[in-house]
């Protein structure tokens, strides 16, 4: 039975009656409409701040950020977008909360009462839109908390204001969309569906596979730019994306208000505002899908394919550490385990060791190379395939560290230290390198089966980093998780060292496949006095490095029994690994 529920258009009601009182009654002291909007917005904002939905969204968003950042070194040009993924979750909650707030009167049978108030539907909707400011604290809190965590973990680079503001605008735009939905569909499911659409729209952002993915409300996982050694200027296009989100928020606001106005003038104003918003969205979209400049891609490919051209190298204890410019703070964390291993060595290999950062970059990638000539794309692809990060052959004198994979703290950092120490020890005992690792078929790691140098390398790594014994023991596996390799048609029980799957040192699996026998003998060696072991190793270091010298010989020299290793069932026709023979 309600008609003209919203009353007159937003702009014309107050002014028309400002001094008009035909009945000659004293005009009640009333606030101008904008003050009503602000007062109502303040209340709605306070509801939003205290909304359980929004609080839950904040917690869930925080969890998303926490999980997606993980414990890896926090690169701001990657983390900023991951924070945005958390904002997307908050945005979903704000969308649902805003829809609930706007549809509140209709759901609760208060339409008639509302229709009797001087505050029109337009005033109320405008207040709901302004009240979306109440979602800002949750968004800003997420940014602040993530910033604190990132800084605590040793942030690399600097945050992009455009990316962070984009996340905030995403939340506001989602709220405006919820308001628009709520003005038409008061049922709570409408907000849930809206939130779901928002989630799916971003969750499917990998589908286009080209620059269009920047146009989705938020994209943070489908591009390779987060794993680069620095931000690629202007990409992902954060600033135009923020403008797009602002345009979307404005457009949603216009859609929300459109249902509440009746006057031609107000409708015209809204139509104009909507047109401007659409134009802004289109313009921002066009800017986002522009091809990355050729010069920038050339430089990127160059930095990836030839890291030395961009890296700064430091030599410490005759080891070269080559890091991209922003990663100098990693040096102490890398030096510690390497130096510890070096200090234990009776002698070093003739060829010096280089520890180098590398980048995994997969080309062709239409997101990065769209709009460029096939000839250029082929050239970049060919160059990138030769990059150290993409190479399947590890030099005998280099340890590669993929950018973005080095942990910031905690147990994973300890694992990474162990991995680096083990790689250093493998370099020292000549287990590192192409001729060893690739002597097997299909690029599988070689197996130092019954080679004394393996337990020596493991012993060195254990003494250098002192990992928990239980964690080392876990690497033997149980039941179906027992690591194994097949050599000469015999199943060899393997040993997964701590952090083996972490990708801290590259290429993953490019080093030798460590064996259970090697670990168990190394473990037994750690129970002997260090001086005794060092003395025996130093007495005939060349012998222990020879791949023909067996575990049994080493055990006999140390005066300890050979640890027993349970046998594994005969393998089916699986891939064969080769012996390490360098």
């Amino acid at each position: 039975m309600t008609s003209r529920e919203g009353g007159p258009a937003i702009s014309d009601a107050d002014s028309a009656v400002a001094s008009h009182d035909p009945a000659g009654l004293p005009a009640p002291s009333r606030a101008p409409r904008m003050r009503t909007v602000l007062a109502l917005a303040k209340v709605e904002a306070s509801f939003l701040v205290r909304s359980l939905l929004v609080v839950a969204g904040l917690l869930a968003g925080g969890a998303v950020v926490w999980v997606t950042i993980g414990s890896k070194e926090p690169l701001w040009w990657n983390v900023g977008w991951r924070i945005g993924a958390g904002q997307l979750v908050i945005g979903m909650a704000v969308l649902a909360a805003a829809q609930l707030a706007v549809g509140r009167a209709r759901r609760n049978g208060m339409t008639d009462l509302y229709a009797s108030f001087p505050a029109t539907a337009g005033t109320r909707t405008l207040a709901h839109l302004v009240g979306l400011a109440g979602a800002a604290p949750a968004s800003l809190l997420l940014i602040a908390a993530a910033d604190a965590v990132v800084q605590l973990r040793g942030a690399i680079g600097a945050p992009s204001i455009a990316v962070l503001v984009g996340g905030l605008l995403l939340v506001i735009a989602a709220g405006a969309a919820g308001t628009a939905i709520g003005t038409r569909f008061p049922h709570p499911m409408a907000g849930v569906l809206g939130a779901l659409v928002l989630f799916l729209s971003s969750g499917q952002s990998h589908l286009p596979g080209a620059a269009e993915l920047w146009l989705y409300p938020w994209e943070s996982f489908s591009d390779q730019l987060g794993g680069l050694p620095g931000p690629l200027a202007g990409y992902p296009p954060a600033a135009p994306h923020a403008v797009e989100l602002a345009g979307l928020a404005a457009l949603a606001g216009v859609v929300a208000l459109a249902v509440t106005v009746t006057s031609t003038r107000a409708r015209g104003g809204l139509a104009a505002a909507g047109t401007v918003a659409i134009a802004v969205i289109c313009l921002a979209g066009a800017v986002q899908v522009r091809p990355i400049p050729t010069g920038d891609l050339n430089q990127l490919v160059n930095e990836v394919a030839d890291p030395g051209s961009a890296q700064r190298c430091t030599t410490a204890s005759q080891v070269r550490y080559c890091l991209y410019p922003r990663f100098g703070s990693l040096l102490p964390s890398l030096e510690a385990p390497v130096s510890e291993v070096l200090a234990l060595l009776p002698a070093r290999p003739a060829q010096p060791l280089t520890v180098r950062q590398v980048v995994y970059l997969s080309l062709p990638d239409s997101t990065l190379t769209h709009g460029h000539l096939n000839r250029d794309v082929s050239r970049w692809t060919a160059r990138v395939q030769q990059a150290p990060g993409n190479a399947t052959v590890t030099p005998a004198t280099a340890i590669y560290l993929p950018v973005g994979n080095w942990p910031a703290a905690g147990g994973q950092l300890a694992d990474a230290h162990f991995d680096l120490a083990l790689a250093t020890a493998e370099w020292a005992v000549r287990l590192l390198g192409p001729s060893g690792s690739l002597s097997g078929g299909g690029g599988m790691p070689c197996v130092p089966l019954n080679q004394a140098r393996e337990p020596v390398a493991i012993w060195l790594a254990i003494l250098a980093t002192h990992p928990p014994a239980g964690e080392l023991q876990d690497g033997l596996g149980v039941g179906t998780t027992i690591p194994a390799a097949v050599v000469r048609n015999t199943a060899i029980r393997g040993w997964d060292y701590p952090g083996v799957g972490g990708g801290y040192v590259t290429p993953p699996g490019g080093g030798p496949q460590t064996t259970a026998a090697g670990y168990l003998l190394a473990s037994a060696m750690t129970r002997l006095p260090q001086q005794k072991v060092s003395h025996i190793l130093a007495d005939d270091w060349g012998k222990w490095l020879n791949w023909h010298t067996t575990d049994a010989q080493l055990a006999a020299a140390l005066g300890i029994p050979m640890p027993s290793v349970s046998t594994l069932p005969a393998p089916a026709n699986g891939p064969e690994a080769a012996l390490c023979t360098t």
Partner: protein
């Protein structure tokens, strides 16, 4: 039928409203002055439709309304009427998770009372007026039906409206609350125009200087309660036995039968008619037409 009053504040001329094939209002003319006017009528008589039109919530299919000289068809004047209006719809929903004071504060903003201090004073005033001051912090979902009805009345009182439209305000109130409500309406400052619909003829008799009876979408009576009661003069009797010839016959609390009809039943004695008797007689007459 037009209520002849001086200085009419609210006027309805020829109001008609149809819902599908049902004629809810049929050329209703009405003039309301300051003071309390009771609107009596059975369910489906058109009371709620009439009140919603007076409250500018809905529009008539034909006819026009003016309040304080303002025409609700004009958007700006409609807003001005709403600024002077307090309205309690027949079926009012509530925000169950709001507190009583929070709800009133929210409604006060919708009534454009934006100054925080004034709003707080106004909320406190209406809470005290309906006796809910101790429930200010209570969630609405924890209120009984009667307390919610008092809250509905309280929201209508916000802003000291010049025009107070209450659709069955005493529904759900216990006798003590009804008495308090009568007291409340009688003591409202500023001499507002008050229209209340009710089924309770005794409420009308107790507090309304004027009464309008709406039957089948038409105004059948407008006058004072005494005049309404007087329409049943010499038509009401009390006796010890049921009278099948009477229009209406029912047993009262004193265990005696009360009869409304054209002829006195045997052995019955005439009694002074009440407002309810007058209303029932009108209803009976209308239903026979």
């Amino acid at each position: 039928m037009t209520l002849n009053v001086c200085s009419a504040a609210v006027r309805a001329d020829g109001l008609s409203r149809r819902y599908g094939s049902t004629l809810a209002l049929d050329e209703v003319d009405l003039t309301l002055e300051r003071g309390i006017t009771g609107l009596l009528g059975p369910n489906g008589a058109g009371k709620t439709t009439l009140l919603s039109i007076l409250a500018t919530v809905s529009e008539p299919d034909a006819g026009r309304v003016s309040a304080f000289g303002l025409d609700p068809r004009d958007g700006a004047e409609r807003v001005e009427i709403r600024r002077r209006l307090g309205y309690l719809p027949q079926e009012l929903g509530y925000y169950r998770h709001f507190t009583v004071a929070g709800f009133l504060d929210y409604v006060a903003i919708l009534k454009e009372i934006t100054d925080r201090r004034r709003r707080a004073e106004e909320v406190a005033r209406v809470l005290a007026a309906v006796g809910l001051e101790r429930r200010a912090r209570t969630r609405i979902r924890a209120l009984s039906g009667g307390l919610r009805q008092r809250l509905g009345i309280a929201q209508a009182l916000l802003g000291q409206p010049d025009l107070l439209i209450l659709d069955e305000p005493t529904a759900g109130l216990d006798p003590e609350q009804r008495l308090r409500f009568r007291e409340l309406l009688s003591g409202l400052p500023g001499d507002p125009v008050i229209v209340l619909s009710t089924h309770q003829a005794d409420d009308i008799a107790a507090i309304c200087p004027k009464v309008v009876v709406l039957l089948q979408g038409r105004v059948r009576f407008a006058g004072t309660p005494a005049e309404l009661a007087a329409t049943a003069t010499a038509r009401v009797w009390a006796g010890d036995q049921r009278n099948a010839g009477a229009h209406l016959s029912w047993r009262g609390g004193d265990n005696r039968w009360r009869h409304i009809g054209d002829q006195p039943p045997p052995g019955a004695e005439p009694v002074t008619p009440t407002v309810e008797d007058g209303y029932l007689l009108l209803s009976q007459a209308a239903s026979e037409q």
